[in-house]
Subunit: 518 residues, 2 copies
């Protein structure tokens, strides 16, 4: 058995059985091993940002890592931006990056680069396999690193000769280790937070990471029932459980003044898997921290600690375990509105047509900012947002989510600007027949930047600045673009058409793209 086959077998033994790939010559033995080993689902992306973003989406829904297969330093480089997002989403990923054969590196061939240096800024763990005997030990260490709570980026560099050489007799064999468990929350921190919650002072319980999943929100709802605290989630959360019958938590707004206003009523912030809110960007004359000066901030669980256990501890301390949380009202059938296109109306259409247990991937940027309200009472769903601010995460994340939970419908909300960064994703959706409906907001501009332009004190854009923030020359034909990559598509010019088109997308088993002309 050669090193590549050993690597595939070890990944499978570690329950890593999905590989998002964009291989090249140095990865050919890994590709060849796929025909000798059963069980690895390989998904091809035509650009590496698709590959790494898909692995992010896969972790968010499957809660176990996928692997990627990337071609040397430049292939890894193309995947870095979505690894940045995945890192901030606390997703676990095992990157396998092919490297030249060890003797070839010194020759400085065209594709030679410092792969470890490229990997490090976006990876928690980086290791280059040192010999054909070392494949199994390194691969297990990589998976172990990727699954260290809450989830980490592990990058394993595989020299081509370590892939193609037969594993020597006597190569170290190691058993699969148990997955590392999240650290238990600190009892004193729980007691300190409970005291704050008992104080009667206006307090917000701010949730991040897994605390925003259904189980965490459920307990948080009981804590709110016992203490009267408010519930909020961070602005950027990998996955939030939402919808009718669920416990609602307000998202900290993106816009600085709105975030400051939302947090202003509270004298205390209790953090569970969350960090103190800071602005996405700095603006002249505005503070970066969004809580009012003097607000007391108490952390119950940091990102590495079990947030659900922390919430359970808090509920116990507050004798809240048997209380009934406030839930979003169950709704009967809701009629989708008709009429001219508006962002507010789109939010109501999405809420009306969203299928039960849908996964919404939200890269709507400015267009979807107001969707929180209208969709709060939609059918139960998970809402996945961008976590690292790097544009181009949405379509790839939708791919990974669709592969992780094949029985559920995926809705990707995309700005037209943002959808272009990793537009090759459409092809992979078609190839894999993924049940993804893509809603593109065709406002034909980097609309968010028109707002940010004023926000940073630059005034009103003149003609040259406007030109750099507009993408209407030429307009992009999203229906034609989707069809060119094998994705059926339709255009909607009013809310009635939008509802019809979205329903068509959800009814079809494969991908469907809807261009909403704004």
């Amino acid at each position: 058995m050669n090193g590549a086959e050993r690597l595939v077998r070890t990944l499978l033994d570690e329950s890593v059985d999905v590989c998002f790939t964009n291989p090249g010559t140095s990865e050919m033995h890994f590709v060849a091993a796929l025909d000798r080993v059963d069980g690895m689902r390989c998904v091809l992306g035509l650009f590496e940002g698709v590959v790494t973003g898909a692995a992010d989406g896969y972790w968010r829904m499957a809660r176990r890592p996928a692997s990627t297969l990337l071609h040397l330093g430049p292939g890894l480089a193309n995947g870095l931006a979505n690894l940045h997002n995945a890192r901030k989403a606390r997703s676990g990923i095992v990157n396998v990056v092919g490297e030249h054969a060890r003797a070839h590196v010194a020759l400085d061939a065209p594709l030679t680069s410092d792969i470890e240096a490229i990997a490090r800024p976006m990876s928690h763990w980086v290791q280059t396999i040192g010999s054909p005997a070392g494949v199994e030990v390194a691969a297990r260490a990589a998976v172990q690193a990727a699954t260290e709570p809450p989830g980490r980026i592990a990058t394993l560099v595989l020299p081509a000769d370590c892939a193609w050489t037969e594993e020597p007799a006597g190569a170290p064999r190691v058993a699969r280790a148990p997955r590392p468990a999240a650290a238990a929350p600190d009892a004193e921190a729980i007691e300190a937070a409970a005291a704050v919650l008992r104080s009667g002072e206006p307090t917000v319980l701010l949730l991040g990471g897994e605390a925003c999943h259904e189980a965490g929100l459920e307990i948080a709802g009981r804590i709110a029932a016992a203490s009267g605290c408010a519930l909020m989630t961070e602005f950027a959360v990998a996955r939030v459980a939402r919808g009718a019958g669920r416990v609602a938590a307000q998202r900290v707004p993106y816009v600085v003044d709105a975030a400051v206003a939302a947090l202003a009523p509270y004298r205390n912030i209790v953090l569970v898997g969350a960090r103190e809110p800071v602005s996405f960007f700095a603006y002249p004359g505005k503070r970066g921290r969004q809580a009012a000066p003097g607000t007391r901030v108490v952390e119950v669980a940091d990102a590495t600690q079990d947030p659900t256990a922390a919430l359970a501890g808090l509920a116990e301390a507050l004798e809240a375990r048997r209380l009934a949380p406030a839930r979003v009202a169950e709704r009967g059938a809701v009629e989708a509105p008709d009429g001219p296109m508006s962002l507010e109306g789109i939010g109501r259409v999405v809420a009306a047509v969203l299928p039960e247990q849908a996964v919404v991937v939200d890269e709507s940027v400015s267009s979807g900012r107001g969707f929180g309200g209208p969709t709060a009472g939609a059918a139960p769903h998970d809402w996945l947002t961008g976590t690292g601010g790097s544009i181009g995460f949405g379509l790839p994340t939708a791919i990974g989510a669709a592969i992780a939970v094949p029985g559920r419908k995926v809705l990707a909300l995309e700005g037209d600007g943002s959808a272009m960064y990793t537009v090759q994703s459409l092809w992979t959706m078609a190839r894999e027949g993924l049940d993804v409906t893509v809603l593109v907001f065709a406002n034909r501009s980097y609309r968010i930047l028109l707002g940010e332009y004023a926000g940073v004190g630059a005034g009103s854009p003149g003609p040259r600045a406007t030109d750099m923030l507009s993408i209407d020359r030429p307009t992009i034909d999203w229906v034609g673009l989707a069809r060119s990559m094998g994705v059926e598509a339709g255009r909607a010019s009013d809310l009635g058409e939008l509802a019809r088109e979205l329903r068509r997308g959800f009814a079809s088993p494969g991908p469907y793209l809807v261009e909403a002309v704004l």
Copy 2:
């Protein structure tokens, strides 16, 4: 004047007057400055790989740097792969990367990353502007670094507050320094190489970098006339002058066995701006160095030395200055062949229809491997190849070339797999009305990898491997894809249609895409 305006003014004063951009919030003041300062041509790309690749193409043809404008660490990350190619092409580029305001970095907002660490693997020079007073000095240093021979990647990080803050009175002003000159070749090295060339032993003069431009080849042709040496260029060269009436130099082949065979006849290799040939990849049981063992290798000029002066010195030493070089025969009008599509036939069609002074950007990967012969006698042209092996350089490089030499026709040869990496380039071509004809070889596979698969000793691909190397499910409709981004397009199924379609592309003033169905 704020820092952003100072930066734009300084770049212009340094003759950097083209900026390829994909800006975000942290770069808004740079964008705003464009409306207050005349003279900077800004070209928007919808993905950062388009931006950096365009800057590479611009340098290759204009021989002076463009700037890029990139959004924090992830924006830079998306541009890294084409910076890798640019670095290996020895292109000079000034990257301007926006960073959070200095006080905001410590808050670890979502987009925070270690920008300098991301930049370093692909940059020769990295600097973060330290204060609003330091913009001009840093900007001039960046341009100086980018123009250091032969051309370097300089990355300047611009914190948002240094952009938006008024330049303080007394900020250091510096004058534009003269451009750094290439080092003169070493007289002893010239004499040693001249001795080799005089020896009568079979010798090849191997050219790289600027030695492959028209002036260098002209002198090289005289040296060949005097000494009987052969002329070759490296496999991966940023730009080679070719065509009728020019001095021809054979390109070292990509395939290892062919490269070894091509170099086997020579006892000596004289390097001028070139490096000793090594294989692109390592293959089991094959040497990485392609020259026969025992071949004497003599370097006359390394990458930092003036290769044209080195060639002139050699010609002087060999008393070759007045000799007439062998030239590729001038040809009369050549009829494009008709008949079924074949790679050999496509090469002949390209040769027949290529306009005078065209710029050919070659990312045809496997399809164009045999084009060297048929196109050798085409109308005079420049041929630009991938230098770093990272796929996705072709369309962006064509953008930069078209902007650098607007009077010349650009032909981009693209594999269908390779064209997908930075397919957003088509939109920029349409927006800027660039005179680029794109020829896509629709073989619906990563054809090169099917060859590499056998080359690395993996045998014949089984069904799963074949699946990872095929892009025919679904097929990509290149005509529809181009049109969706505003680029007119046509399909060719035989050589007659191909000739007609290419001529249509060259006749139209804007971009045109031809899908050659293989």
